[in-house]
Each structure stands twice: as structure tokens, then as C-alpha cells.
């Protein structure tokens, strides 16, 4: 068999990459277009970036989106982790199957349904108990927490399931009470899952248009809602500039994560070699003196 990659495979690879990235590349290129018309190239310019930073509507929406993302992701991590611990550690309690099914239902529920049902709930609650008063950032946070905690629960639960349960038992055995075991042993060990759960929830919240549109009120307009409404009125180069910035931030995040992971991998290999060398050390092979 030839190790040479056949030429047609390169073509296919190019076609695949083009399919994935041409839309983004064209978006980035046209963000530097000096023309107001998005589809006509009129020379290089960064004017749209300048006007972007003077557009209070977009900046406010971006700030609100980030705030909502942080708060709802933090709440989702707390609630999702509680669900995950109950499912992974409390054994076969009554209603376990129900909790398991219901807590992950938002993963498969159409967003339109989730958004509509939350809106109806908020309206009914306002009439019944007067809270939440109207739709606002608060209702968006509640809605985002509701659906993103399901994702956190899944991520954390799989991490808990993959953890050796005797580690927690060992802590109990050494005299730590269950609450302390959770905070001193379990939490540090599942922290990678908490971080990825948080990032996932944050991304979902930042990205959400459908549910936000249902439950937001006047004065609570998130970034996706602004972009969507602007695009409906006609494409604006400012949006291209905004999108390019977002792509740049995400891209930088991916590159940094890659570097960190690469470093961790190298450290792991080094540690493994250190551990293997351990058995050759005189101290590692005790021979009793008796």
C-alpha cells in the first residue's frame, strides 16, 4: 500500500474545509470593507470597528449577555451538580428514575416549547403571586439556568460515575463526615467537569436567541437578539466587525486551551516516567532488616 495520499483526497479535504470556513472567512474579510454595502468591496478600512465601539445599543446588549451568561452558568453549575450528585451517589432512592428523566429532558426539548412554556409560567406566576414582576433580565436568567443545568448535570454525572467510589469511602473511613468529604475530596476531583459545565452553560446562554426572545421584556435585549433584529433590517458591516471580534476571541480561547492541554500532557508523561523510575530507587524496594 502506498503511503502517498492520493491527489483526489486533497481535493476532498479542500472542499470540506471550504464548506466549513468560507462563510466565516468572507465575514471576516467584509468586516474590513470600507463600503456601507456589505456585498460590494470598496477597499480596506477599520471604520466599522470604530463605529461598533460607539454603538451603545450593541455594547449594552453584549454586556447584558455576558452578565446573564455568568449568573445563569453559575446557578446552573450549582443546581446541575446537586442533581448529578443525587443521581450518581445516592443509590436507588424513590423517584430516582423520574429525576433522571426530567432533569435531562431540556436536552431534547425543542427550544420553542421550552421558551413558550417558561413564558406562560412567568405570566401565570406574576398573576398569582406578583413575581417575577414583568419580563426582564431576571426571567432570562431563570430560563437559561433551567435549560443549561441539564447539560451541567450530564457532564458532572459522567465525571462522578468515572470516579473510583472508594476514594470517597477512604475519606469517610479516615474520619471525615459526608459533607466534608464532598467539599474536600469530591469537589476538587470533579472540578474539571464543573469548569467545562460552566463554560458549556455560559456558551449556551450567550448563544441563545429563541428562549431569550420568549422570556425577555423591554430593556432586556441580549446580543443575539440585537444581531438578529439588525440583520432583519438589512445587513450592517458593524455586525460583521462584531462577529469577527467574537470569532477572534473564541479562536484565541481554543488556541490557549490547546497549548495548556499540550503542556499538561507533557507533564503527565514526565510524571509517568518518574513513577516508573521509582521502583528502581533503593528506597522504593524495602527489604526488611529482620
Amino acid at each position: 500500500m502506498s503511503r502517498r495520499v492520493h491527489r483526489s483526497l486533497w481535493v476532498w479535504l479542500g472542499a470540506g474545509l471550504a464548506f466549513l470556513y468560507i462563510p466565516i472567512v468572507s465575514l471576516v474579510i467584509f468586516s474590513f470593507n470600507s463600503s456601507k454595502l456589505v456585498t460590494v468591496w470598496a477597499g480596506f478600512s477599520t471604520r466599522w470597528y470604530g463605529s461598533l465601539f460607539h454603538n451603545d445599543q450593541i455594547l449594552d446588549a453584549a454586556g447584558l449577555s455576558v452578565r446573564i451568561g455568568f449568573i445563569s452558568a453559575a446557578l446552573a453549575v450549582v443546581l446541575g451538580t446537586m442533581v448529578a450528585v443525587a443521581l450518581a451517589r445516592f443509590g436507588a432512592f424513590g423517584g430516582r428514575a423520574l429525576l433522571s428523566a426530567l432533569s435531562t429532558a431540556p436536552l431534547v426539548m425543542p427550544e420553542v416549547i421550552t421558551g413558550l412554556s417558561l413564558l406562560l409560567l412567568f405570566v401565570a406566576m406574576e398573576q398569582a403571586i406578583g413575581w417575577p414582576a414583568g419580563r426582564s433580565a431576571m426571567t432570562i436568567i431563570i430560563a437559561h439556568t433551567t435549560f443549561s443545568m441539564a447539560y451541567v448535570a450530564v457532564v458532572v454525572q459522567s465525571r462522578l460515575a468515572g470516579m473510583d467510589p472508594s476514594i470517597e469511602e477512604a475519606a469517610l473511613d479516615l474520619g471525615a463526615r459526608p459533607g466534608k468529604v464532598f467539599f474536600v475530596i469530591t469537589l476538587p476531583l470533579i472540578s474539571p467537569a464543573l469548569v467545562s459545565g460552566f463554560l458549556l452553560a455560559f456558551t449556551l446562554s450567550l448563544d441563545d436567541l429563541v428562549i431569550s426572545s420568549f422570556v425577555s421584556g423591554p430593556g432586556a435585549t441580549t446580543l443575539p437578539m440585537v444581531i438578529y433584529s439588525k440583520v432583519r433590517l438589512g445587513l450592517s458591516p458593524e455586525i460583521n466587525a462584531l462577529a469577527t471580534l467574537m470569532v477572534a476571541i473564541v479562536g484565541a480561547g481554543v488556541v490557549i486551551a490547546g497549548i495548556l492541554m499540550n503542556r499538561a500532557e507533557k507533564a503527565r508523561i514526565r510524571d509517568e516516567q518518574m513513577a516508573l523510575a521509582g521502583d528502581d530507587l533503593p528506597a522504593a524496594n524495602p527489604v526488611s532488616q529482620a
Partner: protein, 382 residues
């Protein structure tokens, strides 16, 4: 190396003294998981400073029994007493018991010394004392140079010693060890076995060890409890278990054995003659047996207790049989002969290789006589 001495206190054999107070007393303990009975009406006494081995195959209930002692499982019925105290309802974190887990269960995010210090910190021991005791314990298991390392930077043998140090540093009344040497390679296992016995000798802690490895149990234990299907089948010193098994399961589980089925043909108070008709030989046993005259019996004969040679013994009527060598396994210290009898069955015989190069050595297809002493066979009724 170790001098092979068993721990001091085991020498007075408290289990033979009906007045001795057991340190751990397991009374009619049963554990059910749904319909499955993991531990079935087990009663067992373990005495202070014993190194007791629970030995059995996987799923025999030994680990469940250990987990009940640690407090991770509650017995479905029965009681467990440790040092006179009923353990019912006492959670694992309040028991005077520590456990070394099969997987070692080290805390991966803590250094070696933090792992060892963890138990002492839970008791709010003064920091200075923690530091001293951790240092002394790391010294004892020869891990002081690795105190700052994380568990994943250690080899298997080192991790095993961290786990041991962590469970010993609180000076528990009872230390439970779940397959403590299972994950180590053979050489490391042997040296660690003796290390464990030394530690136990030095610290005077009572050990209960769970293992499926009969060799490990034989080396370590003051007494062994053989378990099968949730029951304790036999409790005894290693030599009692090996030389006087109570039934075919124990005889077969511990070491290698040749089992002959037969019936009593002649008996008196001080001897019994058993004919193993299928294999064409008669056993003369130099002690009486309490069994109904025509009942089916088994004679268990260990491979090392059979003599093998070309010459017929003086008396060819009993305690001997003829066969052909079908296979030889050279093990270095001993050779194992597979001898095929006229009946077609195989008998295993081991013989120490006393001389480096033997003239006229036994080889394949040689006709040989197997013979044994009247005290060598063990008569089993079940």
C-alpha cells in the same frame, strides 16, 4: 530477610482458649442484596493482634464482610462487636477501624504527606503532632523522600505503601486490608508481604486481610477463614487449613490436591481401609474415621506427599498405585510429574530437585510406582 516467625501474640493461640475475649466478634451476620445473599450467617471471632485472612474466590462474600466491618454496609441481620462495642448504626467515620483499599484510593489531588495527614486532620490533632506522626509513618514505610509527590508520580509499590501509611497513621484498633498486594508484581509482593508482617509485629495492630490468593494468605496469616458462597467453610491456622481441610472445597482451594473417591472396606477405632475402586488402589489410613460404613468418601492426597520411583514399594497391597509418566513440568526447585494411572486418571506428584544433575532421571513414558505414608491421605466426608 524475614526469619519466618509469626507475630508474638499469635503464639499463645488465644482461639484455643475458651476464656479469651475476642477483639472482633462477628455474630450470625447475614447480608442480603435483594434476593442475593452475599454473606450467610457468618460467625467469627478474631483476637487482639491477630493477622486474620479471609480467603475465597471472587463473589464469596469476603469483601462484603470487610465492608461491614468498616461500616460501608450494614448487616441485614446479626451483630458486629469491636473491642466489646456494638457497631450497629455507627458510621464509618466514627469507627475505630481503618481500611486499605484494593485500588489504594489515594486522594489524587493531595501530596503523599497530605494523604497521610488527612485522617489526623479530621481528628483535629495539633499541627505539630500531625507533622511528627506523618514524618514517622513515612519513615516507617520508607517514603520520606517522596513526601511532596502526588500519587500519580509514584510507582505501584510506592502507592501501596502510601495507602498503608495513611491507614496506619491513626493507629486504628483494627486495620482492614482489601487485596493489599493484588496490584503488585510478584517480587514486590513477596518483599511487601514480609514488610506487612513486620509492621504488624511492630505496631501491634489487629489486621483482617481479604485475599483470593492462597499463597498470600498462607504467608501472612495467623489464622485463615476460608469462605465460599457467603459461608465461612473453615477457620484455622495455615497448616491446619492445608493439612487438615474439612471438605473437598477447602482441600481443592488451598494448594493442589489429588482427590480419590472411595468406600470404607474395613475399619476399627485406630485405622480405616478405603478402596478407591475406580482407580484400583486401597488406602490404609492410620486413624479412625467417623462415617457410616458404606458412605461415599474422598481421600485427598497432596502432590508433595507422594513418593515416585521405578521400584515397587515393599508392600504393594495398599497405599500405592502404578502408572506411566505422562508429563513433567520442571519448576526449578521442584518438578511436577503428571502420572497416568491404568484407570486413565492423572495424578500430580511433586518432587524436590535435590541434586543438580541426576543420573538415571525419571522421564516421559517411564513406568513408575507411586506410594505414600498412611498418615498422608486426608479422609473427607463431604
Amino acid at each position: 530477610m524475614h526469619d519466618g516467625r509469626k507475630p508474638e501474640l499469635a503464639l499463645d493461640e488465644p482461639w484455643r482458649n475458651p476464656q479469651a475475649t475476642p477483639y472482633i466478634s462477628i455474630r450470625n451476620v447475614t447480608k442480603r442484596f435483594g434476593d442475593f445473599v452475599a454473606v450467610n450467617d457468618v460467625s467469627l471471632n478474631v483476637y487482639r493482634q491477630e493477622l486474620f485472612c479471609l480467603l475465597g474466590g471472587s463473589g464469596c462474600g469476603k469483601s462484603t464482610l470487610l465492608r461491614m466491618l468498616a461500616g460501608f454496609e450494614e448487616p441485614s441481620s446479626g451483630q458486629i462487636f469491636i473491642d466489646g462495642q456494638d457497631m450497629a448504626g455507627i458510621p464509618p467515620y466514627s469507627r475505630p477501624v481503618n481500611m486499605m483499599f484494593q485500588s489504594y484510593a489515594l486522594f489524587p489531588h493531595m501530596s503523599v504527606q497530605d494523604n497521610v495527614a488527612f485522617g489526623l486532620k479530621q481528628d483535629r490533632t495539633p499541627l505539630k503532632e500531625i507533622r511528627e506522626r506523618v514524618a514517622a509513618m513515612l519513615d516507617l514505610v520508607k517514603l520520606s523522600p517522596f513526601a511532596k509527590r502526588k500519587p500519580h508520580q509514584l510507582s505501584g509499590g510506592q502507592r501501596q505503601r502510601v495507602a498503608l501509611a495513611r491507614s496506619l497513621v491513626k493507629e486504628p484498633k483494627l486495620l482492614l486490608l482489601d487485596e493489599p498486594l493484588g496490584a503488585l508484581d510478584r517480587k514486590l509482593r513477596e518483599s511487601t508481604q514480609f514488610e506487612l508482617m513486620n509492621l504488624q509485629d511492630k505496631l501491634g495492630v489487629t489486621f483482617i486481610v481479604v485475599t483470593h490468593d492462597q499463597e498470600e494468605a498462607m504467608t501472612l496469616a495467623s489464622r485463615i477463614g476460608v469462605m465460599n458462597q457467603g459461608h465461612i467453610v473453615q477457620v484455622g491456622t495455615p497448616s491446619e487449613i492445608y493439612e487438615f481441610p474439612v471438605n473437598r472445597f477447602v482441600a481443592d482451594f488451598i494448594g493442589t490436591v489429588n482427590m480419590f473417591a472411595g468406600r470404607i472396606v474395613d475399619e476399627d477405632s485406630n485405622y480405616v481401609r478405603i478402596a478407591a475402586e475406580a482407580d484400583g488402589c486401597t488406602f490404609f489410613i492410620d486413624h479412625g474415621v467417623s462415617a457410616s460404613p458404606n458412605a461415599q468418601l474422598w481421600v485427598a492426597l497432596r502432590p508433595e506427599k507422594i513418593n515416585i520411583g521405578r521400584e515397587a514399594p515393599a508392600d504393594t497391597r495398599e497405599n500405592c498405585v502404578q502408572g506411566v509418566i505422562d508429563g513433567i513440568a520442571y519448576m526449578g526447585d521442584v518438578s511436577v510429574f503428571n502420572v497416568k494411572l491404568a484407570s486413565g486418571r492423572m495424578v500430580k506428584v511433586t518432587r524436590p530437585n535435590l541434586i543438580r544433575r541426576e543420573e538415571d532421571t525419571l522421564t516421559w513414558d517411564d513406568e513408575v510406582w507411586l506410594h505414600w505414608h498412611p498418615a498422608s491421605g486426608v479422609v473427607l466426608t463431604s
